[in-house]
């Protein structure tokens, strides 16, 4: 609430940076990171939020992420001493080597692979994938739960409780799975619910359920390919079958 108020009142970079500092001092690291990412989006020419975010990543030992963010800052202000000091602080020669690796990977389009092994939070990787799907017309939300119905990730454009919606759909999915197994039809892979208020597309494995809520008037077959593709990538990120 406080954060929203500050952003809507002034969008002040100083205020955002001060608040991020306050979050860091109070060990609210994820909140600080989110705030700094917002600050970067709103102030693309300012290097301060990049530096603050870079410091957090360095503190966490996430060198690849720190290098990437500091490199972006360096592109804005190549001679900035704070940025150079931060890069120095990580060990100059190693940083240069890391930069080369990141650059090579970027050129080859392999950055995602590097991030996967470099300890970037899974949530960020999943969010990146699911955001692509959420941009498709007619997609109202995505819920990712484990086989027990516990929420892994959710993004809903509907006034629904994410946890209970995921749990309910998972319960029904599991019940249908028992039924198909009872008739020797193998493991359940996909369920489409066509309901009065919209459609629900569920893709499942032994350990996760990928639930996509779609508007009623959207033909689900037109989105099926895209949904499957993102589901496969999400499985790879989570390293599940």
């Amino acid at each position: 609430m406080m954060q929203d108020g500050l952003q809507s009142d002034a969008n002040s970079l100083d205020v955002l940076l001060s608040l991020a500092d306050l979050y860091v001092q109070n060990d609210l690291i994820e909140e600080a990171k989110a705030l700094l990412k917002t600050a970067i989006e709103q102030n693309k020419g300012a290097v301060e939020p990049y530096c603050s975010l870079g410091k957090i990543y360095l503190k966490e030992g996430n060198r690849e992420r720190a290098i990437k963010i500091l490199k972006q800052a360096e592109m804005i202000e190549p001679e900035n001493k704070i940025i150079q000091d931060l890069l120095q602080a990580t060990g100059k020669e190693e940083v240069v080597e890391e930069l080369k690796v990141v650059e090579r990977a970027e050129e080859k389009g392999e950055l995602e692979e590097i991030e996967e092994v470099s300890g970037v939070p899974l949530e960020d990787l999943i969010k990146r994938e699911l955001d692509k799907l959420l941009k498709e017309e007619g997609i109202m939300g995505i819920i990712l739960v484990d086989e027990g119905g516990s929420l892994i990730y959710a993004e809903l454009n509907l006034p629904l409780d994410e946890e209970s919606t995921g749990a309910i759909i998972n319960t029904i999915y599991n019940r249908i799975n028992e039924t198909v197994k009872g008739f020797d039809l193998g493991d359940l892979e996909e369920v489409i619910f066509e309901l009065p208020g919209g459609n629900i597309f569920v893709l499942g494995t032994l350990s996760i359920r990928f639930i996509v809520l779609v508007k009623r008037d959207i033909h689900i077959a037109s989105l099926e390919g895209e949904i499957r593709e993102i589901f496969e990538r999400t499985k790879a990120i989570l390293e599940v079958d």
Partner: protein, 110 residues
């Protein structure tokens, strides 16, 4: 009603089709003798009730459940559930279309 079931069962890959009331009793069916129709009717009614209770949707919904070796399709209307069991090589589009048409005709008959 037999004609509707005959039309459904004639589709390649369809193993059986069943008209089940909301209490789980078979109204009519046609299909493979090895499939226990009483078991399928009970399970279908249970799933339908689960959706009705959990999602608060009393009727008029459909489910397509695709598994490794076959599929189950269900269309629930106010008074009945039309269900179809198939192998995995069934044309899902054709089956769903026929089910919709069949369910509409059955609703008019009942």
């Amino acid at each position: 009603m037999k004609e509707i079931l005959d039309d459904l069962i004639s589709t390649k890959g369809v193993l059986g089709c069943y008209i089940v009331d909301k209490e789980g009793s078979i109204v009519d069916f046609k299909g493979d003798e090895n499939i226990d129709e009483n078991l399928i009717s009970a399970l279908v009614a249970e799933i339908s009730n689960e959706i009705a209770n959990q999602m608060n949707i009393p009727g008029n919904f459909s489910i397509s459940a695709l598994a490794g070796n076959g599929s189950i399709f269900m269309i629930a209307k106010k008074d009945f559930i039309l269900t179809l069991l198939s192998t995995s090589d069934v044309d899902t589009g054709e089956v769903r279309l026929k089910l919709r048409r069949g369910a509409k005709l059955i609703a008019e008959l009942l």
